[in-house]
């Protein structure tokens, strides 16, 4: 008997590992030869036969309940934990996950959890970024109406400070550090960075990452949204490479 690699290992397989199972997905099959059934032992062939018969009998039963009946609503408890933890996956294409550092969940408004993913964009490790998304309060309803899914808002750091790491969270803001040593906060309501008492707007208009689209590297045409603020980089802050 082997011990479990993770607590969920065996349970997941037992729960559903069959046609349409939660973890199982069909893949495109390559060129193939025979079925090979003739090489199965009678005992194994009997198990396959029993499976097939169970499925056929159930399919012929008028009481069979279609699995595809949609659940229209499944509101969930919106309280839960506030935390910061290492990045462990999220609603991103794998190509975009390379430079993530960590993720936080905060209750930005009463009853509305928000997730913040921190890191750098995948095409430029020096360009820090925060991804912000409201947690779905009714994931079933959202799944039926994809247009209602909360968008992912993308906030690029004003300067190329390197990867962003979330250090702490509160209900209205997060505190962060960067690879270049910058320490500051990000206001979740105002969507602005605050460093050394100076409020800085994100670098570029937020974009929504798509499966095949990497967050584009900011170009020299990108400007700070709030030109009235003059940021004076502190010691250790990388010199901005934006020309006004």
């Amino acid at each position: 008997m082997a011990r479990m690699k993770t607590a969920i290992t065996v349970g997941v397989i037992v729960a559903l590992l069959g046609a349409g199972g939660a973890l199982a997905f069909p893949v495109v099959t390559g060129p193939s030869g025979g079925t090979g059934d003739e090489q199965l032992s009678p005992e194994k062939a009997a198990i396959l036969q029993a499976e097939a018969e169970r499925q056929q009998q159930a399919a012929a039963t008028s009481e069979a309940t279609p699995l595809g009946t949609p659940v229209l609503s499944c509101p969930r408890d919106s309280s839960g934990d506030t935390f910061v933890r290492p990045f462990d996956g999220g609603p991103f294409h794998p190509k975009q996950t390379i430079y993530f550092t960590n993720v936080a969940r905060v209750l930005s408004d009463p009853g509305q959890p928000t997730w913040i993913y921190a890191g750098a964009i995948s095409t430029d490790r020096q360009q820090g970024v925060l991804f912000v998304q409201n947690e779905e309060l009714d994931p079933c309803a959202a799944a039926l109406n994809p247009g209602d899914v909360s968008p992912i808002q993308v906030f690029l750091t004003p300067y190329k400070w390197g990867r962003v790491t979330i250090a702490a969270v509160s209900s209205k803001s997060i505190e962060f550090t960067t690879d270049s040593g910058v320490k500051g906060s990000f206001d979740l309501a105002a969507h602005s960075f605050l460093v050394d008492g100076i409020a800085l707007s994100p670098l570029a208009t937020p974009v929504v990452p798509g499966e095949d689209t990497l967050i584009p590297t900011p170009t020299v045409s990108a400007r700070r949204n709030d030109e009235s603020i003059v940021a004076t980089p502190s010691a250790g802050i990388a010199t901005p490479n934006i020309s006004d």
Binding site: M1, A2, R3, M4, K5, T6, I8, T9, V10, V12, I13, V14, A15, L16, L17, G18, A19, G20, G21, L23, A24, F25, P26, V27, T29, G30, P31, S32, G33, G34, G36, Q39, S41, E43, K44, A46, I47, A50, E51, R54, Q55, Q56, Q57, A58, A59, T61, E63, A64, T65, L67, P86, D88, G89, G90, P91, H93, P94, K95, T97, I98
Partner: protein, 210 residues
């Protein structure tokens, strides 16, 4: 998996696991879903890959594992597949004192395919892992070719999984993605079974997170 918790013989644990598969399948049938869902049991049968700590504590010797398998197969609840989604490492002594009998290809073959209800779902997270399963097939395939239901990898990233290397948080390495493992295993078997290569139904992933 022991009755009422606590401890029990491996064979008893295996028997209980078969009961779980049977009972869940019965419930699925009672809901009218068994035309669409079939329950298989599974276990991550693995072997140590080194003598270093803590690897010797993680995986059992072949005797105990085979007792579990026998309990599953011959404990009274038959007809439900037991999928071995583990590894096929052989050659290292197996117990805490590094003196237990090493796993052999015979042992792996038995728990993955030789026992009546057992089907392999090889862990194919690297070329080495694929090769270890190919070695089992090469040595023991004459007793009856194994017929994997698919392959399994352990990527930590979410959907959509990549088709080539993926990040594994559990060990901090890049490993094979499901499709990559699926292709590599079939490629390895092709010289032997050129005209009768199985189509594996599934390429699956289980996140390995510390």
């Amino acid at each position: 998996m022991c009755p009422n918790g606590g401890t029990c013989y491996p064979s008893t644990a295996g028997q209980q696991w078969a009961y779980v598969a049977r009972d869940v399948q019965s419930w699925i049938s009672s809901q009218g879903w068994s035309s669409q869902i079939t329950i298989w049991a599974g276990s991550d049968f693995e072997q140590r890959t080194s003598y270093s700590t803590p690897d010797y504590d993680n995986w059992d010797c072949p005797l105990k594992t085979k007792q579990f398998v026998d309990g599953y197969n011959y404990g009274g609840a038959t007809g439900y597949r037991l999928v071995d989604f583990g590894s096929a490492w052989t050659g290292l002594n197996c117990d805490h004192a590094n003196s237990g009998p090493p796993w052999t290809t015979n042992d792996v073959y038995y728990i993955a395919w030789g026992a009546t209800s057992d089907w392999p779902l090889p862990e194919t997270y690297s070329q080495y892992a694929v090769n270890s399963w190919l070695a089992v097939e090469a040595v023991n395939g004459s007793q009856g070719r194994m017929r994997p239901v698919g392959v399994m990898t352990e990527c930590s990233t979410g959907d959509v999984l990549p088709t080539s290397n993926c990040w594994v948080q559990g060990n901090g390495q890049n490993e094979f993605a499901p499709r990559q493992g699926w292709d590599t295993l079939r490629l390895g078997l092709r010289p032997t079974y050129l005209s009768t290569l199985w189509d594996y139904d599934y390429a699956v992933n289980i996140k390995w997170q510390p």
